[in-house]
């Protein structure tokens, strides 16, 4: 499946200038906010039990980007996180590994060493995360640094200021430049910080800017603001990647991040994926959860299914 820059022939003129891009984005159909939220809520009422639940839990574990993005991150903490990503439940080796660990650029080398040989990827936030308020050169240096240290995936933030000011082409060019800096070795996730984009229409537009510019993943949020991933904004982005593939043939992944803490929530998101984008996205190559505490709840639920007893936080690691 194609994972590189879009072959958006039909859409090639769209990014020719600021005005054409602007015209295209504002020509996208408006989002019916009430309908969107109702749809997300109704899909959240599905009851997933027994074997389907077991499958969903293992799938969700394999989709987790185990994340630590704190100023207080130490090499020791990153190593512990890496160990957890490789063996989420040391008492049960049938537990799948997580998809990746997600750290700041200066911790990439440590993380890389911690997960070496396990197939777990190392993702690094970059481009002056989380605000993204820095000169383009600084952002690109940040990205090159992370890639050079061995990051398999780069999570960039878009320039929300430029986006909200209507300078869509600036946002677009920046993503293109970052994508180039990622080279062929790293996949690019583009964070929109949906909580700062104010409207659903803006989230739809941002999704298209990101996909047009060659994002491999579009990601909801940094986890650093009040409103992070919600079922509604993730549903909207899933619709965008579905429509984008229908138009261009290029598949783009989705990553909701922040605020997903329970197995129940995670399964709701998986239902959204299956019902909106389709089964092709039910794979950790195309869908991820940006989370840290979610993994513990998934493991406790997994233990409950295996033993029939409710588990407790004493039986998973404190991260």
């Amino acid at each position: 499946m194609p994972t590189t820059a879009p072959t958006a022939h039909a859409l090639s003129d769209v990014t020719a200038s600021d005005s054409t891009l602007s015209r295209f984005l504002h020509g996208l159909p408006g989002v019916d906010a009430v309908g969107l939220e109702a749809r997300a809520a109704s899909l959240g009422t599905r009851s997933i039990k027994t074997t389907a639940k077991a499958y969903a839990i293992d799938l969700a574990i394999s989709m987790v980007d185990l994340t630590t993005l704190e100023g207080a991150d130490t090499p020791g903490k990153v190593r512990a996180l890496g160990a957890k990503a490789v063996h989420p439940d040391p008492t049960d080796r049938t537990t799948p590994t997580t998809a990746a660990v997600c750290v700041y650029p200066d911790m990439v080398a440590v993380a890389k060493e911690a997960v070496a040989g396990s197939g777990v990827k190392v993702a690094s936030v970059a481009t002056a995360f989380p605000a993204g308020r820095a000169a383009l050169d600084v952002k690109l240096a940040d990205v090159r640094d992370a890639v050079a240290a061995g990051a398999d995936e780069i999570d960039m933030v878009i320039d929300r200021g430029a986006f909200l000011a209507g300078k869509y082409l600036k946002v677009y060019d920046e993503i293109v430049a970052v994508k180039e800096a990622c080279g062929t070795s790293a996949r690019l996730k583009v964070i929109f910080e949906t909580g700062e984009l104010s409207t659903y229409d803006n989230i739809r537009r941002a999704s298209w800017v990101g996909m047009l510019a060659g994002a491999d993943f579009i990601k909801t949020s940094t986890g650093k603001v009040a409103v992070n991933a919600t079922p509604a904004n993730t549903l909207l982005m899933l619709e965008a990647v579905r429509d984008f593939r229908a138009q261009t043939g290029t598949q783009v992944g989705v990553k909701p991040a922040g605020g997903i803490r329970t197995t129940k929530d995670a399964i709701k998101f998986l239902v959204l994926v299956n019902e909106t984008a389709g089964e092709d996205w039910l794979d950790n190559h195309w869908f991820r959860f940006g989370a840290s505490s979610l993994l513990n709840d998934l493991l406790m639920q997994r233990q409950k299914l295996a033993t029939g007893r409710y588990s407790g936080p004493d039986y998973v690691t404190v991260d």
Partner: protein, 308 residues
């Protein structure tokens, strides 16, 4: 008909036609009053078989939610000073005293007692809260202490709460029995998930309302009603429950629960014949305490050795 007659008639109709306001009894979990997650209720009747109310019939998921709430509340409650916990427990007695009439009625209905006898039960329950309120900052002196050791160390044993305690409230004594098993658990800093008497859960559910208005932090006491055996089984097997009080279990159920509880080495208090009117003693408190012993240098070691 004259106008005066008409008015009189209208007034009369108004009086007789006032709609009765039935109380919806709800669970008390994490400081909130939810219905059962399962949506089920069961009929509760008085000792003569007259319908009293519908009580929520909790499921194992309600039990799980209650444990999560109790675990969340544990740190704060165990960390509160003993003095503060005493004040809070005394406050429960105060609030209960204010609702005396309601509880006398509910206890009379639930247990088929005459009003004076029910009043005696409620008074005893209020006194029981006061009694345990007094114990919160004294229990450490009674069962803890400074141990004599052969060395320049202080060696101190102090009681620590066990954690989340599942409590099967007594089936017969629906109110005094309930208070007598819940108060000692929380007095020492544990948090509780309480299964109310199956036949007579209404006083327990109303006690939830008292606790909610008396400075007891949400989650410290969680009250579930329903089929005791159904709710107790997942609690006994729950890995995040640290102890279980089997006061309300019959012999067969107690045996089964004790086996399930062995899996994560829960402390188990077996059912025993208790006259709840008697002064309780400290056994129910010590049953859910652990002893922490610390060594600490006396600090009096000079070049010439210990001053001991």
């Amino acid at each position: 008909m004259s106008t005066a007659e008409k008015t009189e008639k209208a007034e009369k109709t108004e009086k007789t036609e006032r709609l009765s306001v039935f109380k919806t009894y709800k669970l008390y979990v994490g400081g909130k009053f939810p219905r059962s997650e399962s949506g089920r209720v069961y009929e509760v009747s008085d000792s003569k078989g007259n319908w009293l109310a519908n009580a929520p019939q909790s499921s194992r998921k309600d039990a799980r939610d209650a444990v999560v709430a109790a675990r969340k509340a544990f740190g704060g409650w165990a960390g509160a000073t003993a003095y503060n916990r005493g004040q809070v427990l005394y406050r429960v007695a105060e609030m209960l005293e204010g609702r005396r009439e309601q509880f006398v009625r509910e206890v009379a209905d639930a247990e088929g007692l005459s009003r004076p006898k029910a009043a005696a039960v409620v008074d005893a329950a209020v006194d029981r809260w006061v009694w345990y309120a007094g114990w919160t900052d004294k229990i450490a002196q009674v069962i803890g202490g400074a141990n004599p050791v052969a060395g320049p160390y202080f060696n101190l044993s102090s009681p620590e709460p066990t954690g989340v305690v599942a409590v099967l409230a007594p089936q017969q004594s629906s109110f005094l029995g309930l208070v007598s098993v819940v108060a000692p658990v929380i007095a020492t800093g544990n948090t509780a998930v309480v299964i109310a008497s199956e036949k007579a859960p209404l006083p327990a559910l109303s006690l939830g309302e008292v606790l909610a208005t008396s400075d007891v932090p949400g989650g410290v006491v969680n009250v579930l009603s329903g089929r005791t055996a159904e709710i107790a089984a997942p609690l006994a097997a729950h890995q995040d429950v640290n102890a279980i009080d089997l006061a309300g279990a019959d012999e067969a159920l107690a045996r089964e629960l004790e086996i399930a509880a062995a899996d994560n080495l829960k402390r188990v208090l077996r059912p025993q014949g208790v006259d709840y009117f008697e002064t309780p003693g400290i056994d129910r408190m010590t049953a859910f305490l652990e002893t922490k012993t610390v060594w600490h240098p006396t600090g009096s070691l000079g070049a010439s050795g210990s001053s001991y």
